[in-house]
């Protein structure tokens, strides 16, 4: 089973210039990927016979005030035995002014709703997503609630919220 560091080195040789640092001093070390290469990297690590990341565990997002981040937790699952093999974490960083990340919904279908959630609550736009609309808040909601600079609504359809 390849370790996260080995996977990072493998990706770095495969996509020179698009794989940034490997951040190790965390509980879960992660690989930073440039946003423009994410869809290609995702297709590669899913279809590569050794890596075979067939399971996207979650897409989470965070607001670091100035940049927005999407974090992809990936796992390789042995479909014969159902056991998990190896995992990797990819992190993509985009500026808050133009937060666009290529969608991976065509690679892992489970990304569809997760990207919608990231869009709804954090405002990251996923280019190439089949149906990028709000999933939790109502249509026509103003703003993205999990952003640090989110302004709470004071009124909703005539209901006072103060």
């Amino acid at each position: 089973m390849p370790s996260p560091k080995e996977i990072h080195d493998r990706l770095k040789s495969q996509f020179p210039g698009f794989i940034l640092d490997f951040v190790e001093e965390r509980i879960d070390p992660y690989t930073q990927v440039k946003p423009e290469a994410l869809a290609r990297v995702a297709a590669f690590i899913k279809n590569d016979s050794e890596l075979a990341f067939n399971y996207l565990v979650s897409i989470s997002s965070l607001d670091e005030q100035g940049t927005l981040n999407a974090v992809y937790h990936l796992q390789s699952v042995d479909l014969q035995t159902g056991r998990t093999r190896h995992g990797v974490i990819l992190k993509v960083c985009v500026p808050v002014e133009n937060p666009v990340i290529p969608s991976v919904a065509h690679i892992w279908p489970t990304a569809d709703w997760q990207e919608r959630e990231c869009y709804d609550l954090m405002g990251i736009r996923f280019s190439g997503h089949p149906d990028l609309k709000r999933i939790l808040t109502e249509e026509g909601w103003v703003g993205h609630p999990l952003r640090k600079d989110y302004v709470f609504p004071t009124e909703y359809r005539g209901i006072d919220l103060t």
């Binding site: 939790l136 109502e138 609630p145 359809r157 919220l161």
Partner: protein, 178 residues
């Protein structure tokens, strides 16, 4: 009434129309089948054999608001749901009563300060008869609310309902009708 009492055989009972109708209404409160969050689990539990809400005549959970006269708002009222709750309430026929079950339905509960998506109390959209605190309240608390509602019902005067605009106005629990 005192003139008539004890002047007939044992199987004759004298009472008022108000009392008979209020007793019947209070003993057959039909709630809407409708739960919003974890408080609904307690509400479901109240209907099961261990607690048995049928002891209070409120076991007939109706799937349609048009057949119900009690709305138990069990759980967090999100803004997305708030408009639906209001529609459901408006679809219920008069007389109708509302129990706000749990802290979220009372005033937003743990979401009061940082819940951008939660209504700060269901009484902002519909009138509430009984508030039940707790997070979530135990079935006994719900039964207490039903008993309180029944007591409130016994004090309604049917013939005056047109002038005092009916029971749907929020009043303090257990207070005698004006």
């Amino acid at each position: 009434m005192a003139i008539l009492e004890n002047r007939f055989d044992e199987n004759i009972l004298t009472t008022t129309v108000d009392r008979v109708i209020n007793y019947c209404r209070g003993s057959s409160l039909w709630p809407v089948t409708f739960g919003l969050a974890c408080c609904a689990i307690e509400m479901m539990c109240s209907g099961q054999a261990r607690y048995d809400i049928a002891r209070f005549g409120a076991e007939v959970f109706r799937a349609s608001p048009r057949q119900a006269d009690l709305m138990i708002v069990a759980g967090t009222v999100t803004l997305k749901m708030a408009t639906r709750v209001k529609t459901l309430y408006e679809q219920m026929p008069e007389p109708k009563y509302v129990i706000a079950l749990g802290s979220c339905a009372n005033n937003g509960g743990p979401y009061y300060q940082h819940g951008y998506h939660v209504l700060k109390g269901v009484d902002r959209i519909i009138p509430v008869d009984v508030y039940v605190p707790g997070c979530p309240p135990r079935p006994e608390a719900l039964f207490d609310a039903i008993v309180k509602l029944q007591k409130k019902l016994l004090e309604t005067r049917l013939l005056r309902r047109k002038t005092d605009e009916g029971s749907s106005q929020p009043t303090i629990t257990g207070a005698p009708a004006a």
